[in-house]
């Protein structure tokens, strides 16, 4: 490649960018309509390519995800859990405490963490149960079938059966502070990102531990690929991919994608069908990498603000990203 020519960024030919002037906490696509939505640090949820503004929270949106059936689910530092589609509807108020984490499952399940408690709600917004933990919950996730929910906290993670008559968690123990948490798509593994710049995983069948370390910084984003063969992770100068096949990741080195320019990967999203990862970096660069070939497609140039959120739509032909400074961009990959 010539060093004098500028790489061609897909955003210029196939995309749109908009400035919102507020931290992009999360973005995603509505499960019902496929519409883009974003949750911002000014408490608003922006919907559609016109970024129609809904004041969902008084302070900042702290957590964001596509809601169970339609619209977007957000937690805020105003202690409220809100669902926003046509308008912002408050599902629950938790007083002065922050709603730190949210998750939703298409079967009509919602989860929100407030301090040490994980609250489960149904599709109508009715409270199902509140699950307590030994310390504050720092990450939550449903498994693919919506049967189990996992909450990470200090010294491990707790796996709960959503419909259990008696609520008793399976405690996955590992010393240290655990944040972001993910189930593998087949529900056989749980992985957390730790305070110590490392990941920890458990094989649920036998409780086998997995330690994935070597990160220069904290992993703030990770996702399994669609079929669960790889765990794609941020927190290094490249996209670090751990193999979850052929006996891995134990004893296997990770594959690194799109590395080498000394800037840390800050957010990533795996394509819903293919073995392709979209990643954003601390300098605002966004790219797409194909796992098999290692081939990289530049999406958006550096914008001087870390990429804080990135997401594919369900069919995988739309990609959206946002930065800490408030830039939102989206691209259409469908044939024209």
């Amino acid at each position: 490649m010539s060093t004098t020519t500028q790489p061609e960024f897909l955003i210029d030919s196939r995309g749109t960018t908009r400035e919102t002037d507020a931290y992009v906490v999360g973005l995603g696509f509505c499960r019902a309509t496929g519409t883009l939505g974003a949750g911002l640090g000014d408490g608003t949820v922006r919907i559609g390519t016109d970024l129609v503004t809904h004041q969902a929270h008084e302070g900042a949106v702290l957590a964001f995800c596509p809601d169970a059936k339609a619209g977007f689910l957000t937690g805020g530092d105003d202690g409220r859990l809100v669902s926003t589609a046509a308008e912002a509807v408050t599902l629950a108020k938790y007083g002065s405490r922050w709603v730190d984490q949210v998750a939703a499952h298409p079967d009509g399940l919602r989860a929100a963490s407030v301090g040490k408690a994980l609250h489960l709600l149904d599709g109508k917004g009715e409270a199902l149960k509140s699950l307590n933990h030994p310390s504050s919950v720092a990450g939550i996730a449903f498994d693919a079938k919506g049967k189990r929910v996992v909450a990470s906290h200090y010294n491990g993670a707790s796996v709960w059966f959503v419909n259990a008559k008696e609520d008793k968690p399976r405690f996955l123990e590992w010393k240290g502070s655990h944040g972001l948490v993910r189930f593998s798509p087949d529900g056989t593994h749980v992985v957390t990102a730790m305070q110590e710049n490392a990941l920890h995983g458990w094989r649920l069948a036998d409780g086998q531990h997995m330690r994935m370390s070597g990160y220069p910084t904290k992993t703030r984003s990770m996702e399994f690929t669609a079929k669960g063969r790889w765990l794609a992770t941020a927190g290094a100068e490249s996209i670090v991919m751990w193999p979850f096949f052929g006996g891995g990741p134990m004893g296997k080195p990770p594959t690194e994608l799109a590395g080498g320019d000394g800037v840390f990967c800050s957010a990533l999203a795996c394509h819903p069908q293919h073995e392709v990862v979209a990643a954003g970096f601390d300098d605002g660069l966004v790219l797409i990498a194909e796992i098999g070939s290692g081939k990289v497609l530049p999406v958006a140039p550096p914008s001087e603000s870390p990429v804080s959120a990135i997401a594919w739509n369900a069919s995988g032909n739309m990609l959206a990203f946002g930065t800490e400074k408030g830039l939102i961009g989206w691209l259409d990959f469908s044939a024209r």
Binding site: D21, A22, Y23, V25, L40, G41, D42, G43, E58, G59, A60, V61, L62, D77, D78, S96, R97, W98, D100, G115, K116, S135, S136, A138, Y154, K175, G176, S177, Q195, E196, T217, K218, R220, S305, P306, E324, K325, G326
Partner: protein, 339 residues
């Protein structure tokens, strides 16, 4: 980043010393600034403020091999949440409960990368009750640590003590912490500007105030576990030897050393090196040029428990460039062929 690095003030003090009164004063005074306040006993504040955050004081150990390295997990989450808000905060005030050890709060700002990027420790402010402090120092190690860690001590309820009692309390405070600024108050009536935005943890302000004792004189009273030791030399230091020595001191004595501060003059260097540490976590850099005619004296102050002055002094003196040369020459002599 939507925010620039936010200064954080840690507010400590024993129960009933006047922390809440001070917080209410800070929040209700018309200073035109926007502060977030992280408190622990929610509901005690009489002021309506949407930036009051209820925290849990969750202290956890970092698995970094440092046994005394504990941090506040809840603070890491709260700071990461606060920086997402729109609009620049002028500061964050973290109140600790009366029984809290201030170290985990301070260490959070050294140990977590995201927190370091978003915020920095401005100062540790301790509110002490002039009437009851001596009794508290007698029955609680936390009260002693809160005094030892402080950059500013607000000696409150001065209207309740006689001048003699006040002098005795001050003597006890100085025995533990000779460098902190001491302010008297009644009903925590100190100006907000005296408490916030002090930049005590700014390396340039290290030892800006002379410790209030004559150099070479140790401070510890027999009724107090925590003591301070101040050492100085006008001989330039050898940076390598100093680093090796202080690294060793912090590694071995870090648990007992509450705070360490130093201003150093290195051999052949025209810049001032500043250094400070909370337990084992240290930070140091060149901060400015030595001024014309300014005496190039290296000074270091240790506050902690069970400190051995002769040993520390010997170690510090072995860091001078002169000592380094002497050591080199004696080593050379030892290996030279006999004449």
């Amino acid at each position: 980043m939507s925010q620039t690095n936010i200064p954080v003030t840690v507010l400590t003090g024993y129960l009933g010393a006047g922390k809440t009164t001070l917080l209410n004063r800070i929040l209700s005074e018309d200073h035109g600034k926007k502060y977030a306040v992280v408190i622990n006993e929610f509901g005690e504040l009489g002021v309506d403020n949407d930036l009051v955050v209820d925290a849990d004081e969750e202290v956890f150990e970092m698995n970094n091999g440092c046994i005394c390295c504990t941090v506040r997990g809840d603070l890491i989450r709260i700071i990461n949440g606060l920086v997402k808000r729109k609009g620049q905060l002028d500061g964050i005030i973290v109140e600790t409960t009366g029984l809290a050890d201030p170290a985990p709060v301070a260490q959070t700002f050294f140990a977590d990368d995201d927190v370091k990027k978003a915020a920095h420790l401005d100062s540790i402010v301790t509110v002490a009750d002039a009437k009851n402090l001596i009794a508290r120092l007698g029955d609680s190690s936390e009260a002693e640590e809160q005094i030892a860690f402080a950059d500013l001590i607000i000696l409150n309820k001065m209207d309740l003590v006689t001048p003699e009692e006040a002098a005795e309390v001050e003597r006890r405070i100085r025995a533990i912490n000779p460098w902190a600024e001491l302010r008297h108050s009644v009903k925590s009536d100190v100006p907000v500007t005296a408490v916030l935005g002090r930049e005590s943890f700014n390396l340039e302000k290290v030892l800006e105030r002379e410790p209030e004792f004559l150099n070479g004189e140790d401070h510890h009273s027999h009724d107090s576990e925590v003591m301070s030791i101040s050492l100085s030399t006008d001989k330039p230091l050898d940076p390598e030897r100093f680093n090796a020595w202080i690294g060793q001191v912090l590694a071995v004595k870090g648990q007992d050393l509450l705070r360490t501060k130093g201003i150093l003059s290195y051999q052949g260097e025209d810049r001032v090196f500043a250094f400070q540490a909370v337990h084992m976590l240290a930070d140091g850099d060149f901060i400015r040029d030595w001024k014309e005619g300014e005496p190039r004296v290296s000074r270091i102050v240790f506050i902690g428990r069970d400190l051995n002055r002769p040993k520390l002094r010997k170690g510090f003196e072995s860091c001078t460039a002169e000592a380094a040369t002497a050591a080199y020459e004696s080593e050379l002599a030892r290996w030279s062929p006999e004449a």
